[in-house]
Amino acid sequence: MTREDQLPRTSMTISALAALILAIVPLPYPLDVLRPDFLVLVVLYWSILAPRTGGLALAFIAGLALDVLHGIVLGQHAFALTLMAAWATQVRLRVRVFSMLHQSLTILAFLAGYQFILFWIDGATGNPVTFLSRWFAPVIGALIWPALAGLLNRLNDR
């Protein structure tokens, strides 16, 4: 509340970059399937907490970065992430006062929606990934949300 005009741009950039690195750090076989979408979580966090800082542009650029790193079609992740960030921004005032459990469930809905859009575009462009394991990531993401939000709050306070 103290920084009415000062937007947490630095912490936003740092957290987004860190999430981007976590998205491509190599993990051994069973773990890589369980890797949560860190960048999506970070974008959702900033959409809920401070939509003016990065806003949808952050979501779009982050999505584009994911597309370049492992997208089949350019624009796929950007599209999904923009939609989910817009949705999160829309309901942010409510989400902020939710209990932690309730928040995690909301995040699960965002992540599942994100994954579903990716799934749909994958199918529409002829590269379907139909493994059931692709739906693990949203659940793991929702589970680590409290820890991640706490960490980002800490980063933001400084």
């Binding site: 003016r52 949808l56 350019l74 624009g75 902020r96």
Partner: protein
């Protein structure tokens, strides 16, 4: 309990829908351009260069560790290595003596068969980067790109056999799709009798499928499958896999054949990009 501290004191919500629609349209435009018209390879290359430092930053600690590991190996281990390599080199030289003659022979025979695929005449070695591309797709990132002349559809081998083909090229890196990817198919034939078929990936790096073999086909456990050269992507005659099991159900029209790839799809670090001389 994590309570959000509000850094957002704006009531600026009116533009949200507008901006959302704008960005979504932009993304959809990108997707259509990329998928339908293939117009974005330039943009994609440029963007890949932007994220390249990130990929290098991730892969370099692993390389540094390898380097340290190498540097502190004992003298004895290096000596043993040297002796082994010299031995291997001698063997390779022996085999090579006949190579020139055999290559000419192959060309002549291929001329007779009017086969367009020839012998690889040029190759470069690429290093697999320690970067995860996608957990659900069998793809690896390699540190050779358009700058080195790598092109989409190029055949990639490792020392065991066919590894995959180049799926996407950027300036400094490329993405190789493995033959074990669930969407990958490679035309092959049984080395013993020339039976032609298609080898599909299964998603598992140690397992390939051979779905289009009839129960009556002459294929047995231990058969070596080599590329047939049909399709024009892979040159003929490179090993793809060995048959490890054939299950024939008398009631079905197709046999179930399990194949183990000869390339070490989940372990290889060094890959060979080859240029094939169309021997016309």
């Amino acid at each position: 309990m994590v309570a959000f501290r509000s850094a957002d004191n704006s009531g600026r919500q009116s533009g949200l829908l507008l901006r959302c629609i704008l960005f979504c349209l932009l993304a959809i435009g990108l997707m259509i351009l990329d998928k339908r018209y293939d117009q974005l390879s330039g943009i994609r290359r440029a963007l890949s260069v932007v994220v390249y430092p990130l990929q290098v930053a991730i892969t370099s600690p692993f390389e540094a560790w390898d380097w340290l590991h190498e540097s502190f190996r004992s003298r004895d281990a290096l000596r043993a290595d040297k002796a082994r390599l010299e031995q291997e080199l001698r063997m390779a030289r022996f085999r090579l003596q006949r190579y020139e003659a055999m290559e000419t022979e192959v060309r002549q025979l291929q001329g007779l068969r009017e086969n367009t695929t020839g012998v690889a005449h040029k190759f470069i070695v690429g290093d697999v980067m320690n970067v995860d591309v996608d957990a659900f797709r069998a793809r690896v990132m390699v540190d050779k790109g358009a700058r080195d002349g790598v092109f989409v559809g190029q055949a990639v081998l490792d020392e065991g056999g066919v590894f995959g083909q180049v799926a996407r090229v950027s300036e400094l890196t490329c993405e190789v799709i493995l033959i074990s990817d669930a969407t990958h198919a490679i035309p092959a034939q049984v080395n013993r009798n020339g039976l032609r078929t298609v080898v599909l990936g299964s998603g598992d790096p140690n397992h390939l499928k051979l779905p289009y073999v009839s129960t009556a086909a002459d294929i047995v456990k231990g058969d070596l499958l080599v590329t047939s050269g049909l399709g024009g992507v892979f040159p003929a005659g490179y090993p793809v896999g060995t048959v490890i099991e054939v299950r024939r159900d008398p009631a079905a029209s197709l046999a179930e054949v399990d194949v183990q790839p000869t390339a070490a799809l989940d372990r290889s670090r060094l890959l060979l990009f080859i240029w094939v001389d169309a021997a016309k």
